[in-house]
């Protein structure tokens, strides 16, 4: 028996009837065709499916679509605004933070969450924050650099209005 759910995904309202067992990641990929969020494992280890749900980074393979009903979701497709890349996306491109790119969407969402909570993380703090996201290509070094780049850029951007006032 299907149930009605309402979600706001990347700013767009959606109403759908889904099976109660449908995972959020499959809802995003198969129902909404937002295939930027990937499935890399089945034990919540890899983090490729990480999305933002109500401001929290969650592994969407471990959330039922029904549980997310009424909530707001941001996926990799929603990171850029009006065609401008999010600083984290820019960092990944600038610093060669991806190779095959499969883990990247989840990795970037985790990075966004980290920088919201800690705008100036140390390398150790970045590595610790990434423990729930696996990458098999990069050895993580350039992912760390990408996040440092984004952190710097976001700090500079948020500091600018103050400077202007001075």
């Amino acid at each position: 028996m299907k149930h009605k759910i309402h979600l706001k995904v990347n700013g767009v309202e959606h109403t759908n009837e889904v099976e109660p067992r449908l995972l959020l990641v499959h809802y995003l990929r198969d129902v909404l065709n937002l295939t930027g969020t990937h499935v890399g494992c089945d034990t919540s280890q890899c983090g490729a499916c990480t999305v933002m749900l109500n401001g929290q980074a969650v592994k969407s393979c471990t959330v039922l679509a029904m549980q997310a009903s009424g909530g707001e979701v941001t996926t990799v497709e929603g990171l850029a605004t009006n065609g401008t890349l999010h600083p984290v996306q820019e960092g990944f491109w600038e610093k060669h933070g991806l190779q095959c790119g499969f883990c990247t969407p989840g990795m970037m969402i985790t990075a966004v969450q980290l920088l919201e909570r800690n705008p100036n993380p140390t390398e150790d703090e970045i590595r610790h924050a990434l423990e729930g996201n696996l990458c098999r290509c990069t050895g993580y070094q350039n992912i760390v650099s990408a996040i440092q780049y984004a952190a710097e850029k976001m700090r500079t951007a948020s500091a600018q209005p103050v400077k202007a006032a001075q």
């Binding site: 099976e19 990937h38 034990t43 280890q45 990944f92 760390v144």
Partner: protein, 791 residues
């Protein structure tokens, strides 16, 4: 119009904008109308007879389209999977090896946990999985064997009726007078090594989507492959769909590391079901399925003897390697991995006078093994580089000195190694010196001594490696039984407006060749890099390509497109000479412009020539319209990148935990097209090699259950387990590659495992520990420490 030379520039990747915005196109992202979903029922037993299969309940389940068994496929004319490398040369009995049957779905017997038994096709993926539970299989469990040494023993469970003692092959490489080397040795150093089973774990599991066009009798098959043309060829051989009616497409591929070279039973099933049902069929492995059904790597038991002089000269090496092939020969290069890709590199970068390697390939009730990043070369490099440390220890020499003592010298290249390969170029001393300087090796021993006084166990480990890659000359590959060439293809097409489309047979899956290949073509033709598009991965548009593995894409595929671009340049030069009314010999090309020597005002850009070639009315008599050329590049030799890696660790002797303190990699892959991408390749290789040294282990119990069968149980390193790597390079061009390039994709994996192992053993040397088998997990190290304390 002069353009900036792009060779050597850290150009940002053109792949990235789509991948960082969620617009990549991996196989599972693809959907077509009428699509169905396949799930595969896999054996829960390591070894069992199938007494019966009842699929009726599953067939009747709402939403199920069809259920197929092995018998259905056999009745449908689907034979066993092919094997690309049937060994003959080097076989000790002189016979071509027997290839046991591997059915797409098992019929009467399963031989590993994960062997396919039945397939369900359903309207949605959840229903397909539900229906798996409704299939009744009557299994009669049989005794299993998972350890390859035990599988060779008399009385061991037998996997294949036509393979006595489970021995797939006994193969030998012998060169030089091994008896004389051992007779003249002052001492013989012995070692017993486990090179453990690894599980590749690309972040994207295997996936496939097959669509049959009944009208045209054509199959389109999207899958996650490192070599779509080879997949097409093998797919044709098994399914009978003619090669010209089978289109294979690999768009974005989420990592491969060797395990996506092969065609898998699931690929054949997907194609077969799509044609049978005349409905598109999608199959995407779940991760736990990937652990069971996609090829594993490594898994050697090695006994080694080194013949050594007291002055540190290493004369010879004798190896017996028992390689676990798994239950069947995987469809990739599997039998070649522990033989031809392994034994010839056992001498490393040293001047040994004799080598003998006996490899036994053995069947066990485990997932088949095949190429995994490095493929044979890490297993060899571990033997020689761990060996150098063992020998140094025994002789009381410094690990640096023993390496220096035995190095092939820079003026000795090309050097015919005792492993039979001709090393193209090298300067082993040069990269070692650079690494030692960066590591402050001299100062380390002081730091180590001080730390020990405070009860801290610091260690340093070296690995001076050379590897063979850029696979490779076809004649050589054919001669040793590989059923395929190892050349690569390219088509370069210059359009009337001067932009360029390049079709490459390479099939990148993370290596960034859309970018580096564009840099190469831009540099060759003097056109802006933005004007060059690289097309790959579609058998309907690109010429037959051998694909991406064995660090071959730049060295071989890059050479093909450079040669094709040079043909275009030459044709354009003829047109330019004609239009400039100059003698051909007087027309020179520089950075996109043809000019006449002595008359600098007479010139044409390559874009102008491209338009003239399109117009076609004013060309020299022997020149055809348009600028389009192809090239099939078959390299005259392999390439041999090399380098020196140094690792510094601290081991907590109370917990057995190893902490990486520093990792220095000095690599030499010749000139570098894009330093940012080369660094990235090294980083990733290091992560996997360090993973083997410290964390990763594919483990079976005696019944054939894979205990490390999920990401919860198998330790893919996380960001916290790794550190910032210090990278540096030396540059020694290959004399035979058109641009001097060598491969770099596997160097990190090949070099790093012994460097880390040497560092851990060095740290623990005050306890009398001389060796611990990898992976050096806290548990393994802790046990070694306890045993040393008892002794």
């Amino acid at each position: 119009m002069a353009v900036t030379k792009m060779f050597g520039a850290a150009v940002k990747r053109r792949e990235d904008p789509r991948l960082i915005t969620g617009k990549g196109y991996y196989t599972d992202d693809m959907n077509v109308p009428g699509q169905t979903y396949m799930a595969v029922l896999r054996s829960p037993y390591g070894h069992a007879r199938i007494r019966g299969i009842n699929v009726e309940k599953a067939r009747k389940h709402p939403g199920v389209v069809a259920v197929f068994t092995g018998q259905d496929l056999a009745d449908g004319g689907i034979g066993p999977l092919p094997q690309a490398w049937p060994l003959e040369v080097g076989m000790v009995n002189g016979q071509k090896m027997t290839i046991p049957e591997w059915r797409v779905l098992a019929i009467d017997r399963v031989r590993f946990t994960g062997d396919g038994v039945a397939a369900v096709i359903a309207e949605d993926p959840y229903t397909a999985k539900d229906a798996l539970d409704l299939i009744d299989v009557d299994y009669e469990p049989l005794p299993a064997v998972t350890n390859q040494a035990k599988a060779m023993e008399p009385g061991a469970p037998q996997l294949h009726d036509n393979v006595p003692n489970n021995i797939a092959f006994h193969w030998r490489l012998a060169n030089g007078d091994i008896d004389a080397a051992f007779a003249s040795a002052d001492r013989i150093v012995k070692a017993h090594f486990i090179n453990q089973r690894l599980i590749p774990n690309p972040m994207e599991t295997h996936a496939a989507l097959a669509q049959w066009n009944a009208g045209a009798e054509e199959m389109t098959f999207w899958n996650t492959s490192q070599n779509p043309h080879v997949t097409r060829l093998l797919g044709t051989l098994v399914t009978g769909i003619p090669e010209h009616k089978l289109r294979v497409v690999a768009r974005d591929v989420g990592g491969g590391f060797g395990c996506k070279i092969s065609i898998y039973p699931g690929d054949i099933l997907t194609m077969w079901a799509a044609r049978k049902l005349n409905r598109p069929v999608k199959w995407t492995e779940e991760r736990r399925e990937n652990y069971l059904a996609t090829a594993h790597g490594r898994d050697h038991i090695q006994d080694v003897e080194y013949a050594v002089k007291n002055d540190g000269t290493v004369l010879g090496i004798r190896v017996k390697a028992i390689a676990n092939m798994g239950a069947y020969l995987n469809t990739g290069p599997a039998p070649g991995v522990p033989t031809w890709l392994f034994a010839p590199m056992l001498a490393g970068c040293y001047k040994l006078i004799a080598l003998q390697c006996d490899t036994y390939g053995v069947y066990t009730n485990t997932t088949p093994t095949d190429a995994y990043r490095g493929a044979g070369r890490p297993e060899a490099t571990y033997i020689i580089e761990r060996g150098m440390d063992l020998i140094a220890r025994e002789l009381g020499m410094d690990p640096v000195e023993i390496r220096r003592k035995n190095f092939i010298q820079p003026d000795e290249f090309p050097y015919t190694s005792i492993g039979t390969f001709v090393y193209d170029s090298g300067n082993y001393q040069g990269s070692l010196n650079k690494a030692l300087e960066i590591a402050d090796y001299a100062g380390f021993r002081q730091r180590q001594a001080e730390a020990r006084k405070q009860g801290k166990y610091l260690g340093i480990g070296l690995s001076t490696y050379v590897e063979v890659c850029g696979l490779g000359p076809s004649a050589g590959a054919n001669a040793i039984g590989f059923t395929g060439g190892l050349w690569e293809s390219a088509v370069v097409r210059m359009h009337p407006t001067g932009s360029v489309t390049v079709f490459t047979g390479s099939s990148p899956h993370g290596q960034g060749e859309e970018t580096t290949f564009a840099q190469l073509v831009s540099s060759e033709l003097g056109v802006p890099v933005e004007a060059v598009e690289i097309i790959h991965g579609d058998t309907n548009s690109v010429p037959f390509g051998m694909g991406t593995y064995g660090s071959r894409s730049l060295a071989v595929g890059g050479a093909a497109l450079v040669m094709a671009a040079r043909k275009i340049r030459e044709k354009a030069r003829k047109i330019a000479a004609h239009q400039l009314e100059a003698a051909l010999d007087d027309v020179v090309f520089d950075n996109g412009t043809f000019s006449v020597q002595g008359s600098p005002d007479k010139k044409k850009t390559i874009q102008e020539i491209a338009f003239a070639a399109y117009m076609g009315g004013n060309l020299p008599p022997d020149v055809t319209p348009m600028l389009e050329e192809n090239h099939y590049y078959d390299p005259p030799n392999f390439v041999f990148p090399f380098g020196a890696h140094i690792c510094e660790v601290e081991v907590d002797i109370e917990t057995g935990v190893t902490r990486l303190l520093r990792y220095i990699a000095v690599d030499d892959c010749g000139p570098v097209v894009n330093p940012m991408i080369v660094d990235g390749q090294v980083h990733g290789g290091l992560a996997q090699g360090i993973g083997q040294a410290l964390y990763e282990h594919g483990i079976y119990d005696d019944n054939g259950q894979l205990l490390s069968g999920s990401m919860m149980d198998y330790a893919v390193p996380t960001a916290s387990e790794l550190i910032h790597f210090d990278l540096a390079r030396t540059e020694t061009p290959s004399p035979h590659q058109p641009l001097g390039l060598k491969g770099v994709g596997e160097t990190g994996t090949i070099a790093s495992t012994p460097a880390v192992a040497n560092a851990v053993v060095d740290a623990l040397s005050p306890l009398g520990i001389t060796h611990i088998d990898i992976p050096l997990t806290p548990e393994n190290v802790w046990h070694a420490i306890q045993n040393a304390r008892k002794a």
